[in-house]
Amino acid sequence: MRRVVGPLLAVTVALVLADSAVVTLALPDILLNLHTSVAQVAWVLISFNLVLGLVAAPMAIGSGLVQPRILGAVGIALFAGSSAWCAVAGTIEVLIAARCLQALGGALALVGCLELLVAVYGERRGVATWVTAGVVGTAVGPVAGGLLTQAFSWQAIFVVQVPFAVLAVPAALAIATAPPLVQDRHRPAIRPNLTLALLSAALTAALFLLVLLLVQGWGHSPAVAALTVSVVPLAALAARPLARLLRPPPDVEVAAGCFLVAGGLAGLALLPSSNLAWTIAPQALVGLGLGLTVDRLTSQAMEMRLPRAQHAGWTIGARHLGVVLGLAILTPVFTADLQDAQVPAQEAITALVLDAPLQPDSKIAIAEALGAELTQQEGRIPDLHRAFATLDLDPSERPAAAALERELDGQLERAATWAFRDSFLVGALLALLALVTVVVPRRRSAS
């Protein structure tokens, strides 16, 4: 029974925390499918993280009054039900409401699962399993979401969560536990939670912005984007062996991790071209940084602190409010930069069309088609292929027109990459702020 129940609960923890970023790669599809705006679709991400961040600590504080198995089962059931509701949402408002409910269920499930995993595996291994499942979920979420969106649809992301969660409900109920008796009460660990919040904001930049750049800016499919960002979790796996090899003190490990995340984000801000290969090394730095920091900080925030669930609640709150902070800072920055990038992009397109080796009539026809396409896609990165597909050009002009289309796409990629630059730099700054919280000397406590 332990063999089945433990992994099911760990998968549930991973699913809840994966939901923080799982829809990132599906946002362009949701945008089109639910006929909404960029600002509204961002709330599919923000709402989940905001609710989870706000309710996790109060839920955890109140959890001592209820049996963990009941708390866990109710939370998982609510999470499963609202995941199903997300999958059938027909409007953006319904989807956002369902995401809020999903986060509420997720918060209950996370708190309940922590106590249940401790009951199944014991204190040390139970907490470690809970922490690791969360890190794996966070890192793998965007990749899994992208692959599911590409293979099926954005709804599939929510559908696949339902059976796992449904199986986890009886698994939670099967564990006989009483609310833990707490003799000692410790204050929340402010420093690791603050570092975690800032780092989560920075990691949001890495994952959220990078997938947007890949899908919206460079026009890759969600599957290609998912495979590309899989570098982050793969590099995160290398962090433990590296730490074991060099055996740094915990604070040094976290500081180095923050520096690696900042360096990776600076690398993403300074991409030399839109070739996917250039994103690998910066992502590897981010992944290594993630692997060195998130589980270490989560452990620091919870280690030897009671009540356990309450400190888990503070940690979940810090992480997810950090994600919201990241989105709140970065969304206006990159949407404004994307807007600002329109003028240089249009001028570059105009220059290439004016100088194209085509007949004047063809140039005017192309300019008209491009103008119509740019007007239709106001505020988003346009799909120039549609403009070229509508043209009735002389066959002798087609090679030059095709070359022009490639050059114009290249200019759009340049403009998009340029537009994301400042946001990645802001993300790097957030990671450096996280580093500051680690290296600033602690106040000596009076003895």
Binding site: A255, L260, G263, G267, L270, P272, A341, A348, P360
Partner: protein, 203 residues
């Protein structure tokens, strides 16, 4: 492992990795991957056209003229083109700058010897002109050397540009057929007027 190595090992690796990645990226143009910057409209530019005859000449004139107008208005050629592509009335400043830019373009093409001789344009102009058949046949029969001696391309173009209703042309900028018709009519009229004028003088 010593305490010092434990303290410095991982930070050293992190610094090396970050520095290495950023150095390689900057060496390959990282930070400069941005859209094509518009060229200075006041700097000399070489323009080419795929079209032949009057169309090709008009295209080169317009491309150079946009530069000249942009230079006067303090805008890039691209920014001016985008501005002119917007619907709405044109300002006197825009129209005057465009006319002056086109006249500059004629001077520039004359200076660098890229203006075609008038004889190369006459047949095409006659195809579009509504002349009586006797007069048309007479003009077509003229040897190229006579036409080139009697008719200077730059004079024809300057007359065309000065007589052209640029405001009307700009209003029809998104109606390709109307634009072609207006440009052809203006060039043809200028060629026709100049030729008739010379013929009258000869007679």
């Amino acid at each position: 492992m010593t305490t010092r190595a434990q303290l410095l090992g991982l930070p050293a690796v992190a610094v090396a990795l970050v520095s290495g990645v950023l150095a390689v990226q900057l060496n390959h143009g990282g930070g400069t991957f941005e859209p094509l910057a518009p060229a200075d409209p006041c700097a000399e530019r070489t323009v080419t056209a795929q079209a032949q005859g009057i169309d090709g000449l008009t295209e080169r004139l317009v491309l150079l003229g946009l530069d000249g107008a942009g230079c006067r208005l303090g805008l890039s050629r691209e920014a001016l083109t985008l501005q002119l592509a917007q619907p709405g009335p044109r300002t006197d400043e825009e129209v005057d700058a465009l006319r002056a830019g086109l006249l500059d373009a004629v001077d520039r093409m004359k200076e660098d010897g890229t203006l075609p001789p008038a004889s190369e344009l006459v047949d095409e102009a006659m195809d579009n002109a509504d002349l009586n058949s006797f007069l048309e046949a007479a003009i077509r029969a003229l040897p190229a050397s006579v036409i080139d001696a009697a008719l200077k391309t730059d004079d024809v173009l300057v007359n065309t540009i000065e007589d052209l209703d640029l405001r009307a042309v700009l209003e029809n900028i998104d109606d390709q057929d109307e634009l072609d018709a207006q440009m052809n009519a203006a060039v043809t009229q200028a060629v026709k007027d100049a030729l008739l004028d010379r013929l009258r003088n000869l007679i």
